[in-house]
């Protein structure tokens, strides 16, 4: 009964000053809105990165050449097909050793003449990255040992050249050399900016080495390890083989670098932490500013209603009732602001998502967090004005003009 009256009075007071209440809530609205929007975007980004990590299998390891500096001289030496061959021959913990090499070449088909990235690799490459065919076939070990001039086209590369599924079997000119189009891949989507398989044309690595590119420099080697537990051991094995193959003296640093999913996950966890910190500071600042605004307006409200407080006390209201009265008012302000902020944040996130091609995920936790924060801010910044109201002396409050 009493609580109903308290709620009634709190809402009555807010409704009597709608404009003021709204302006007061603005800080909380923006604060909570920012939190929701950023959390939604953050969760979306997290998912995108996780998808990318997942696209490189859990038990895959990639090695590529790295710069080394010896007495102030920076040196860069590519990995070679021989390095890859050594790995393939000697590794005990690998189920697949897949080198790849690449270059940008002019590709002609009909009247089309495009510059396309050509990747030379082995047949395992396709299964390693779980690429799918839309038409035709992938090249085989036979194609590779015979250095056949066969090409598998990424969906975008094919489209740009005007090549459709029905054109499998026709020929294209790559760097002036005639290749048979044996397959077209299904669209895969960007695997993270620099590496979009859809825009590539794939050929056997031997063809690339001996016929097209005329060198043995490879981009890197992807290794499939027997099991996840053996990742570290496999990395050690590779290091030993490569150091010997590349004739590094004991005092020399590795001139190659490993890249694995765990490393990516660690980098990601670090950036997530920074993002979270940023988010938390924005939330903290805006909620504190919003909270101070609420405290300010509640103090005004207490002063304005001093006489009313006096009347209520004269009629038998206890301190706790007056306290609750004003606390409820400030909490209502915050929660209402928080609710509007949630809506706003969700909307902003949606807008950014639709314009950025980004997925947006609003988690129940973020909503709960927003509500919790709103109530917390209402309580924290409402308690001082409310206790001032509660402590008012009845007769002094009644005398207040």
């Amino acid at each position: 009964m009493l609580i109903l009256e308290i709620i009634r009075v709190a809402f009555g007071a807010l409704l009597a000053n709608k404009g003021r209440a709204f302006l007061t809530m603005l800080g909380i609205i923006i604060g909570v809105g920012a939190v929701i929007a950023m959390m939604a975007i953050g969760a979306g980004a997290q998912k995108a990165v996780q998808d990318r990590i997942a696209s490189m299998g859990v038990n895959q390891l990639r090695v590529f050449a790295d710069r080394t500096t010896i007495r102030g001289v920076t040196r860069y030496r590519s990995l070679t097909t021989d390095d890859a061959q050594a790995l393939r021959n000697e590794m005990t913990l690998a189920t697949a050793v897949v080198p790849d090499m690449g270059g940008q070449y002019q590709v002609k088909y009909g009247n089309k003449n495009n510059s396309v990235r050509i990747t030379g690799t082995t047949p395992e490459y396709f299964s390693l990255r779980s690429y799918q065919l839309a038409a035709g076939r992938f090249f085989t070990n036979g194609d590779m040992s015979a250095s056949q001039r066969v090409a598998v086209l990424g969906s975008v590369a094919a489209e740009n050249l005007g090549i459709g599924p029905q054109d499998v079997g026709s020929t294209v000119r790559i760097g002036g050399m005639i290749f048979d189009v044996i397959g077209i891949m299904e669209s895969k989507g960007s695997q993270g900016g620099w590496d979009n398989p859809d825009e590539n044309i794939f050929i056997p690595i031997t063809t690339a080495q001996y016929r097209l590119m005329g060198n043995d420099r490879i981009n890197g080697v992807t290794v499939q390890v027997v099991a996840q537990e053996w990742m570290l051991a496999a990395q050690g094995e590779m290091e030993r083989i490569l150091r010997r193959e590349r004739q590094l003296r004991p005092e020399q640093q590795n001139d190659f670098r490993f890249f694995n999913q765990q490393e990516l996950a660690t980098t990601f966890a670090e950036s997530t932490k920074i993002f979270g910190l940023l988010l938390a500071s924005i939330a903290a600042v805006s909620l504190i500013v919003g909270g101070i605004g609420i405290m300010n307006i509640m103090l005004v409200s207490v002063t304005e209603r001093t006489r009313e407080i006096g009347i209520r006390k004269a009629l038998g209201a206890r301190r706790s009732i007056i306290l609750l009265q004003f606390l409820l008012e400030s909490i209502t302000l915050c929660v209402l602001g928080g609710a509007i902020g949630m809506g706003l944040g969700y909307w902003v996130a949606k807008m950014m998502a639709s314009s950025g091609g980004w997925e947006v995920i609003v988690t129940p936790q973020s909503l709960l967090l927003a509500v919790g924060f709103s109530v917390g801010v209402g309580l924290f910044f409402g308690i001082y004005p409310a206790s001032r109201a509660a402590k008012l002396d009845p007769i002094e409050a009644l005398r207040y003009e």
């Binding site: 009964m1 009256e5 009597a16 006489r307 009347i311 209520r312 038998g316 206890r318 301190r319 002396d393």
Partner: protein
């Protein structure tokens, strides 16, 4: 004895200045009395009323209300006393401006913990008693001064308080309207209500059975004994 005051003093401190508003008040009021408190402006009438009504506490002295010592009470206990025992009518009405007459009268019942239905019933009865059955849904600014004061009286009476305290209840009203309020008081007194009333005007005081005159924070005269010997 309903009110028992011994050696009550009230000192207001204004910076370094001290105002002795009440200087040793001894006062007994028994149930069913109708007391008029008069005296020149600044003699301490309002101060005394606030003390009786537990809206303020004395600087020194003892005050027993219905046998219990008010000075040792907690805030919650004092709130209960204000709610159950005291009905206060102010010169300036002190109604809540945004609430209807009915709601204004219901407020003490809300704090008294009454249920909705009982509250409605009692508030309606109190408003009917002061002749405002047709103004229940009106807000204070839609009513005349006399009507507002009736709402205030209804509010003071709705909890069946032991004492009705009225500080110049007719001070802001014209004579005719004031008289109707006083008539209401007379009826209440006739039905056994204890009333203490502060007034400037002799004809208002004449309504009461007992007259106390304050001067400079002291009781100058009290005709309680005279009445007893006459009656």
């Amino acid at each position: 004895m309903l009110i028992e005051m011994r050696g009550i003093e009230k000192v207001y401190k204004l910076g370094s200045e001290r105002v002795n508003a009440l200087r040793g008040i001894d006062l007994d009021v028994s149930e069913g009395e109708y007391v008029a408190l008069t005296g020149p402006s600044g003699s301490g009438k309002s101060t005394l009323m606030h003390l009786i009504g537990c809206l303020d506490s004395p600087t020194a002295g003892r005050y027993l209300l219905a046998g219990s010592d008010v000075s040792s009470m907690s805030d919650a206990a004092l709130a209960r006393v204000r709610n159950r025992q005291i009905g206060f009518v102010f010169q300036t009405f002190n109604l809540l401006p945004r609430a209807t007459a009915l709601h204004n009268v219901e407020i003490p019942l809300i704090y008294g913990g009454f249920g909705t239905r009982e509250r409605r019933r009692r508030a309606t009865a109190a408003l009917e008693r002061v002749g405002l059955a047709d103004r229940m849904k009106h807000q204070p600014n839609q009513m005349s001064g006399g009507q507002r004061q009736r709402v205030a009286v209804a509010r003071a009476l709705v909890t069946d308080p032991s004492i009705l305290l009225a500080d110049e209840p007719t001070g802001n009203l014209d004579t005719a309207t004031g008289n109707s309020i006083l008539e209401l008081f007379a009826q209440l007194h006739a039905s056994g209500q204890t009333i203490v009333l502060v007034t400037h005007e002799a004809d208002v005081a004449a309504h009461a059975r007992r007259h106390i005159v304050l001067r400079d924070g002291k009781i100058e005269s009290d005709d309680a004994n005279k009445k007893e010997s006459a009656g």
